[in-house]
């Protein structure tokens, strides 16, 4: 068993190296490769660009971190409001539903423009005009609509008998939600939540349309200054380095979840 496994790993490694080598040789020998190399993979431009670009990337990271925390909180509120039982809360459920419907339907760039250009143009006293602020607001509104649905799926995946058990012990509706349902629900939706956050990381570049110099805007500036496209490749590389580990982590969590479910055998 063990030997055959080692053998398949060796075969996979050799075949991958050979495959990549063939592709590499084919590309490098293709007509026009020198021109592609000079404008996309220019070593000098790369060396000159990446430090300042990494610095601009700080804006994206900041935006991502602030928005993420706010989304986790606000989306949970929306999800809980949508799951409130009883006829008294009907209007609240409808409001939450309309919110989710609207912000899932709108293109992100539209919301960013309306909030980032439109609201400051009103010149209302006390209303911030900082584009970064409005980018945070737009991303939180947009992504909370998705994330609240993820939460809600988690809440609904917890069997009603859990709530019944909690209520039968005298816990109130909110206590049952807080101590019994939500801890189980949140644990189950961590992989899809991470998935949404990969999307959020990428969409932080939308702030550049409001004139803030983030990674994307910096890449554009560098491109115009050097007449070379390497800065875009640098930007792409920076996003890859950040996003791929998160994607692998998500996969690992999903696999672990499946293993655990197999062990418990779906008793519950």
């Amino acid at each position: 068993m063990r030997g055959s496994r080692r053998r398949s790993v060796a075969i996979a490694a050799v075949s991958s190296v050979a495959f990549l080598a063939i592709i590499g040789v084919a590309i490098v020998n293709a007509p026009g490769w020198p021109r592609v190399r000079d404008s996309f993979f220019n070593a000098e431009v790369f060396a000159a660009s990446w430090p300042v670009m990494l610095q601009s990337f700080g804006v994206n990271v900041q935006l991502f971190l602030i928005a993420e925390v706010l989304i986790l909180g606000w989306a949970l509120v929306v999800a809980v409001l949508r799951s409130t039982p009883g006829p008294v809360f009907f209007p609240i459920r409808v409001l939450a539903m309309i919110y989710v419907d609207v912000f899932r339907a709108l293109p992100g760039i539209l919301v960013i423009f309306i909030l980032g250009f439109g609201v400051p143009a009103l010149r209302l006293p006390g209303v911030p005009r900082d584009p970064f602020f409005w980018a945070v607001v737009a991303l939180v509104l947009l992504y909370s609509a998705y994330v609240s649905e993820v939460y809600r799926a988690g809440i609904e995946s917890v069997h009603p008998s859990q709530t019944a058990a909690a209520r039968s012990l005298g816990l109130g509706q909110l206590q049952a939600l807080r101590f019994v349902v939500l801890p189980q629900a949140v644990r189950r939706v961590i992989p899809p939540l991470l998935n949404d956050f990969i999307g959020l990381q990428k969409d932080t570049v939308l702030v550049s349309f409001l004139g803030t110099v983030d990674l994307f805007n910096r890449a554009q500036i560098r491109q115009s200054a050097t007449f070379n496209y390497t800065p875009y490749l640098v930007a792409a590389l920076i996003f890859l380095v950040l996003t791929i580990p998160l994607a692998r982590l998500t996969d690992w969590l999903v696999a672990r979840d499946a293993r655990q479910r197999a062990v418990t055998g779906g008793v519950r």
Binding site: S161, Q162, A164, A165, A166, R167, S168, L169, G170, L171, G172, Q175, F179, V180, P183, Q184, R187, V263, T264, V267, R268
Partner: protein, 251 residues
């Protein structure tokens, strides 16, 4: 407690799910320290009756009176009533994300406002009494079915209920695990706990019950001491039911 030490009185209880009438006029009185076993085929309404007593299911007509208070009257604070009535389910329904100790102490802490130390001590004493002291740090999925069900019973006991409802608590267990759960219930009966037990374990009912009620088609067709109901039933339906149980080798 009212005169005569009556803990539970049910009068003319009706309950329907849609067009299906599950309970059709239940009358039942349970005195303090009394153990009443409800028997009857699946679908006869045993579980629904217990769920109605604990207000998990709203009732359509009739009254449920617990310790002299009409708990089915409009405006009654449901959570306060449920503290007095414990229920244990067929499927255990332990909280999988909490340890045994967490399961047992949640309600005493959050509902009765006990401190963690206080709740932990009481839970430890209960776990000790029912032979689960070494399992307190385990999560439910690390326990056998019998152990899980014992924890579920202890979780209900931790609220010090004046009435305990047991809903076919051994039906989901492997045969060799049934005894340990029944032993716990026997000990509770010996300690004077007032209980209403829905069960398919006829010999257990004969041992433990002060009174057995046979449910059929949403009514309590007959009730009385176990020797009478299980050995010499008057109603043909009861006789027929017991005949089938004997054939299945469960009596």
């Amino acid at each position: 407690m009212t005169a005569g030490g009556e803990v539970l009185r049910i009068e003319g209880l009706h309950k329907s799910f849609g067009s299906l009438e599950v309970l059709r006029g239940i009358d039942l009185t349970v005195a303090a320290h009394e153990v009443v076993c409800l028997i009857g085929s699946s679908g006869s309404g045993k579980s629904t009756l217990l769920r109605c007593i604990n207000l998990i299911e709203p009732i359509d007509a009739g009254r449920v009176v617990v310790e002299g208070e009409d708990i089915t009257a409009p405006g009654v604070e449901v959570d306060r009533i449920r503290r007095k009535i414990g229920i244990v389910f067929q499927a255990f329904n332990l909280f999988p994300h909490m340890t045994v100790l967490g399961n047992v102490t949640l309600a005493p802490r959050k509902v009765l406002g006990k401190t963690r130390a206080e709740a932990d001590d009481e839970a430890a004493a209960l776990l000790q009494r029912f032979g689960l002291a070494d399992k307190r740090r385990e999560y439910p999925d690390r326990l056998s079915g019998g152990q899980q069900q014992r924890v579920a019973i202890i979780r209900a006991l931790a609220m010090r209920p004046s009435l305990l409802l047991l809903d076919e608590v051994t039906s989901a267990l492997d045969p060799e695990l049934v005894a340990e759960v029944l032993d716990v219930i026997r000990e509770l009966a010996a300690g004077g706990m007032t209980m209403v037990i829905a069960t398919h374990e006829m010999s257990f009912a004969r041992d433990i019950a002060h009174r057995v009620g046979f449910l059929d088609g949403g009514r309590i067709l007959e009730q009385g001491p176990p020797s009478e109901i299980l050995s010499a039933p008057k109603e043909p339906r009861t006789r027929q039911f017991l005949q089938r149980v004997i054939q299945a080798g469960r009596l």
